[in-house]
């Protein structure tokens, strides 16, 4: 014990007080940090801050005016997201083990941190009193509150210390579900003041204590349960490569599904479903599977080119004929698959993977069409589209979605050996990049309408997505170009020497190598999109930030929140931080693992 303390002191001395300058720096930095924290704490807890303006508008923040009767769609989408996360966590589970004592150590560290912060928290804060208009010191965190809190925290510390004696180790990936479990339990037990209106639409004072958002308790709990189940399923199928592939593909397709099912409300005509869609679906499923399994048969192989020719003709014809859209899409998909089937389905393993991919893509296509072609939009009372946090994510994910292919094309163009194409692509990239995003957003909001033909009208969100496609596409193009340039010249020469043409060279040799190099960039670019999407507030789209700084500060009926935008701003900053921080941390870890696996 004695030695331990000595060691600790030495570590502290080495790290903090190694030289006079270092000592001085230590004190100065600590002072700045503590006073910054005290200032922030005072700012946040001052009595003129009405944090209920944040809590009461949570629904507005999340989905804006999306109708409550259709919330089930959003829950399903969020649930799907969590199920896939659970599957992924299970499938790519790390072997790292952690023990209960380690976990408790982490928790006790956090609790000690909170204890420290509680001790240094300020007692008073300066506010302008509304009654007298004079600045005055107001008590924000009295000792009467502080001491019980401290004793609870110390109690927790003791509990953690005791638990840490239990010797129990479990897998690190399992931690995620524990971390998710904590807020869900809190949802059931925590009670906070909530705004209630009486029969005359007047706010009831004092605000009664209610559990946090009653309506979300059950969905979140269900989602947590499905997460855990998905995790277990993932662990079970850990060694199935096909399953992993299917999950990866589903991740790419999931946003499309969410998009079509959140915005569209398909009229499901059971009759037509049974008579048309299901037979078509099953028919194509069978044709695809048969092709996969039979195509390399010696007898069938001879007729492959006839089959393909027939398929091309039928597909082209179907595009112009009046047949149901599912047939068109399925034909196109089948054609796409048939072109690659003979090359992939030579081994039993290849056949199995291909079958899974075929089923997943056909099913998704069918679902997408059901949602996507439906003309019935969700009727949102108020706005044509939902907003808030959902919009922020929509812009981030679809910004990446639409900009990625464009970025690839621009990068290829810029790297092309053809001078005109290279010039044009370079011009587009440089022009788009040199101008700030906000001016492009203005272009979308006020100028683009001028360029649209008479009668064609895009929703502002679609216009913003178009502009985002170009803007982040140009940035993508630069990143991909980096990947392209890292490919040695010899690769092109070798491809030439074995007689490949330009398209084959690009799709088989160049892009696979270039894209692998930019996977990390993809994640960071989603993060950037997520952050950049906050700029749409300036053109009046109702994203997360707009609601906090423009809408809530204007509410006067029936509850008055006029002028309470600082607490909302702080809340928004916090939410953005939580999301980007965790995302970037996860991606960093993922990257590390990816890198280790490859080398």
């Amino acid at each position: 014990m004695n030695i331990d303390i000595k060691k600790q002191t030495r570590v502290i001395k080495e790290n903090l007080f190694s030289s006079p300058v270092s000592t001085l720096l230590t004190f100065i930095t600590s002072y700045i940090m503590i006073s910054f924290f005290r200032g922030m704490f005072g700012f946040a807890t001052a009595p003129d801050k009405d944090w209920l303006s944040v809590l009461n508008n949570m629904q507005l923040y999340m989905v804006q005016a999306y109708p409550e009767s259709d919330f089930i769609r959003i829950w399903i989408c969020v649930g799907l997201g969590f199920i896939f996360s659970g599957l992924s966590v299970g499938l790519w589970e790390t072997e790292e083990k952690t023990s209960l004592s380690k976990l408790c150590l982490t928790f006790s560290k956090i609790v000690s941190g909170i204890i420290f912060l509680t001790i240094i928290a300020p007692t008073n804060s300066v506010v302008v009193s509304t009654a007298t208009g004079i600045r005055e010191q107001v008590e924000v965190f009295s000792y009467a509150e502080r001491i019980p809190l401290l004793s609870i925290l110390i109690g927790l510390l003791v509990v953690f210390f005791l638990i840490s004696k239990i010797n129990l180790s479990f897998n690190k990936s399992l931690l995620v579900s524990i971390y998710l479990f904590v807020p869900i339990i809190l949802l059931w037990i925590m009670k906070i003041p909530t705004i209630q209106l009486d029969s005359e639409n007047q706010r009831v004072f004092p605000d009664p204590l209610m559990p946090i958002a009653n309506s979300t308790k059950i969905p979140w709990t269900l989602i947590w349960i499905s997460f855990v189940v998905a995790y277990l399923v993932g662990v079970y199928f850990k060694n199935k490569k096909q399953f992993k592939n299917a999950v990866s593909i589903s991740w790419v397709l999931l946003p499309l599904l969410i998009f079509s099912w959140i915005f569209k409300k398909p009229l499901i005509d059971l009759n037509e479903l049974i008579r048309n869609d299901i037979p078509v679906f099953i028919g194509f499923l069978l044709i695809g599977v048969l092709t996969i399994y039979l195509i390399n048969n010696k007898i069938v192989e001879k007729f492959y080119s006839y089959y393909l020719g027939f398929l091309v003709v039928v597909t082209i014809a179907s595009l112009f004929l009046k047949v149901i859209l599912l047939v068109k899409a399925a034909l196109l998909l089948l054609l796409l698959f048939s072109a690659i089937i003979p090359a992939v389905s030579t081994s039993a393993k290849g056949k199995r993977s291909l079958t899974i991919v075929w089923i997943v893509s056909l099913t998704t296509t069918a679902f997408l069409l059901e949602g996507g072609t439906s003309t019935t939009q969700i009727v949102v009372p108020g706005s044509s589209i939902f907003g808030g946090f959902s919009l922020t994510w929509l812009l981030a994910i679809f910004g990446t979605y639409v900009s990625f292919p464009l970025g690839v094309l621009l990068a290829l163009g810029r790297n092309s050996s053809l001078p005109i194409i290279r010039g044009v692509c370079t011009g587009i990239i440089e022009l788009v990049r040199s101008v700030p995003y906000i001016t492009w957003l203005f272009f979308a909001s006020v100028t683009m309408a001028v360029f649209l033909p008479d009668g064609v009208e895009f929703n502002l969100i679609v216009r913003v997505l178009i502009v985002t496609a170009f803007f982040s596409g140009a940035y993508f193009a630069e990143n991909i170009r980096g990947g392209l340039q890292s490919i040695p010249k010899g690769q092109f020469e070798a491809a030439d020497a074995i007689g490949m043409n330009t398209v084959q060279k690009t799709s088989l040799i160049v892009l696979p190598q270039a894209l692998r190099a930019i996977v990390p960039t993809l994640v960071s670019s989603i993060i950037t999109s997520f952050k950049d999407s906050s700029l749409v507030t300036i053109i009046g789209l109702f994203d997360f930030l707009t609601i906090g700084r423009m809408v809530i500060g204007n509410q006067s009926i029936p509850i008055n929140f006029i002028g309470h935008d600082r607490e909302n701003l702080l809340f928004i900053a916090f939410v953005y931080w939580i999301f980007t921080f965790t995302l970037s941390r996860r991606s960093m870890k993922f990257e590390k693992r990816l890198g280790l696996g490859e080398r």
Partner: protein, 516 residues
């Protein structure tokens, strides 16, 4: 017949033909697309009664601007100029500050001191993960939560911050400041020459010539001479530009159109000639590839288009601008005005110290009870300026700190070992080995960050800072001309980006050559 057909087939299978056919089809499609959209735009504009015109540049917008060159602009052009200068002001000071803070933060992150390192890291994690716009809004809220500027806050202060903004003591420019600045640049050049001269002497004669001391003393002496009136020697330049200005006033607009056309023609012809002669060396009679022909043709085509544009309304507009045609644009940036401005600024009859160190002053507005920060004495920053500046500087500094850290880390390992094995001391190791190489690694990403900073200043629009985007928006709200304003934004930002990247590339190349 068959022969002919096969010949035609062979022609279309020719690689060169294919290559150019693909490109021209692409180009044709692109031009058709652009033309189509322009057509639609023209039609739509006609429908909405807003004809595309640049007229608003000359008209008085009737709106005042919070800060900048012209707070009550007489023309749309002046208004945009004000926004541009505001944007440049924040960009230039921001780049300097962000580099400074970024370097400090980067070094702090490599520090052995636990608290310093953790503080820098947590600052990084907070700033990097919150949208810049939210940060700028937050800084604005922070400044607005400061006390009001009260009645009793009057007089001179060293530093003052209130909800009205920030006031600092500042060396204020006097009449001779521009001359002194120019003089100082010349001084810097001279002392640099002295340094190089002494180094050369050292190398030739092998004796200690103290180059650093020499150049420093040259700098100090020249500076002192300049400060007490010596700077007036620069007045010669002002005198000359006065003549130039008078001469330019006589010239009609057509002169500039012709001049620019001739320059364009000359440049294109010389470059084509250069290309031709490069393949014409003696007996090694070179062959031109299709790309070479293309380059020549495109050079000529660009020149012809440029010349044609020079005599179209665009060229007339440019010429009018250069002539400084008062009634058209009410611009002060025409060439005669420009040289006139130089001759006014660099006038040798100006006396007195070029700069005067002033305390910030809080003054009374007229006879009312209102107080404001003096804009004449000291330096006053508005809330919008301060919030935007702080936002972009901290945001960029964080990214720069990552670059600095990565740069130093990339070099330090093997190179430090090599340096130490040569017997270099730690300080000289950093100065001679690590930094020169790290800077070379750091420069390209730094350039990108500078560009981002320049572009991010446009977020000032959210806190009422009148930079070019905000001003442009106000302008088209008044006049309805969104398209021209958008074009001006594009040209302006492209120019800024191009200039910045040219500067960065210049240094990049210079450092590279030095390395070899």
């Amino acid at each position: 017949m068959v022969k002919l057909l096969s010949k035609i087939g062979a022609f279309f299978r020719n690689v060169v033909v294919l290559k150019w056919a693909v490109q021209f089809i692409f180009l044709g499609g692109l031009i058709a697309l652009i033309f189509n959209y322009l057509n639609i735009a023209v039609g739509n504009l006609a429908n909405t009664n807003i004809a595309f015109s640049w007229g608003f540049l000359g008209e008085t917008p009737g709106v005042s601007i919070a800060e900048g060159l012209y707070t009550l602009p007489k023309s749309g052009l002046q208004m945009l100029q004000t926004g541009m200068l505001n944007m440049l002001r924040i960009t230039v000071t921001g780049i300097i500050a962000a580099t400074f803070f970024g370097t400090i933060l980067g070094i702090a992150r490599l520090s052995n001191n636990y608290i310093v390192e953790k503080t820098a890291t947590s600052l990084l994690e907070v700033v990097r993960n919150v949208p810049l716009l939210v940060q700028i809004l937050f800084f604005q809220a922070l400044i607005l939560s400061l006390p009001r500027l009260e009645v009793y806050d009057v007089g001179s202060v060293l530093f003052h911050a209130s909800s009205k903004g920030v006031a600092l003591s500042w060396p204020n420019r006097q009449d001779g400041a521009w001359m002194f600045m120019l003089y100082f640049l010349i001084t810097l050049y001279i002392s640099n020459r002295v340094y190089k001269q002494r180094v050369k002497l050292l190398e030739e004669q092998g004796r200690e010539t103290k180059p650093f001391l020499w150049s420093l003393s040259a700098l100090v002496i020249l500076f002192a001479v300049g400060w007490y009136g010596g700077y007036r020697i620069v007045g010669i330049i002002g005198f000359v530009s006065g003549f130039i200005s008078q001469g330019l006033e006589v010239l009609p607009g057509i002169f500039y159109q012709i001049l620019l056309s001739v320059v364009a023609g000359y440049i294109s012809i010389t470059s084509v000639r250069k290309q031709i002669s490069s393949k014409r060396s003696g007996e090694l009679q070179g062959k031109y590839s299709d790309d070479d022909y293309f380059k020549m043709i495109i050079t000529i085509v660009i020149a012809i288009v440029f010349i044609a544009l020079m005599f179209a309304p665009v060229g007339q507009g440019i010429a009018k601008f250069l002539v400084g045609d008062e009634p058209t644009f009410k611009s002060d940036w025409g060439l005669p005005q420009f040289f006139g401005g130089i001759s006014n600024a660099l006038d040798w009859s100006i006396t007195g110290a070029p700069y005067e160190l002033n305390m910030a002053e809080i003054e009374q507005v007229g006879t009312t009870k209102f107080k404001k920060y003096s804009t004449e004495v000291g330096k006053s920053l508005t809330v919008g300026y301060f919030a935007t500046w702080l936002g972009v500087v901290i945001y960029t500094a964080i990214f720069i700190s990552e670059i600095v850290r990565a740069g130093i880390m990339a070099v330090s390992k093997g190179q430090s070992e090599a340096g130490l094995s040569l017997g270099l001391r730690r300080s000289s190791l950093l100065r001679l080995i690590v930094l020169p190489q790290a800077v070379r690694i750091m420069l390209p990403p730094m350039g990108n960050q500078y560009l981002n900073l320049a572009k991010n200043t446009s977020l000032g629009i959210a806190v009422g800072f009148p930079e070019v985007v905000a001003v442009g928006q106000t302008l088209y709200n008044q006049e309805g001309q969104t398209l021209p304003v958008f074009l001006i934004w594009m040209i302006f930002f492209s120019t800024v980006s191009l200039t910045l990247s040219t500067i960065v590339n210049y240094y990049n190349r210079k450092l590279k050559i030095v390395e070899r």
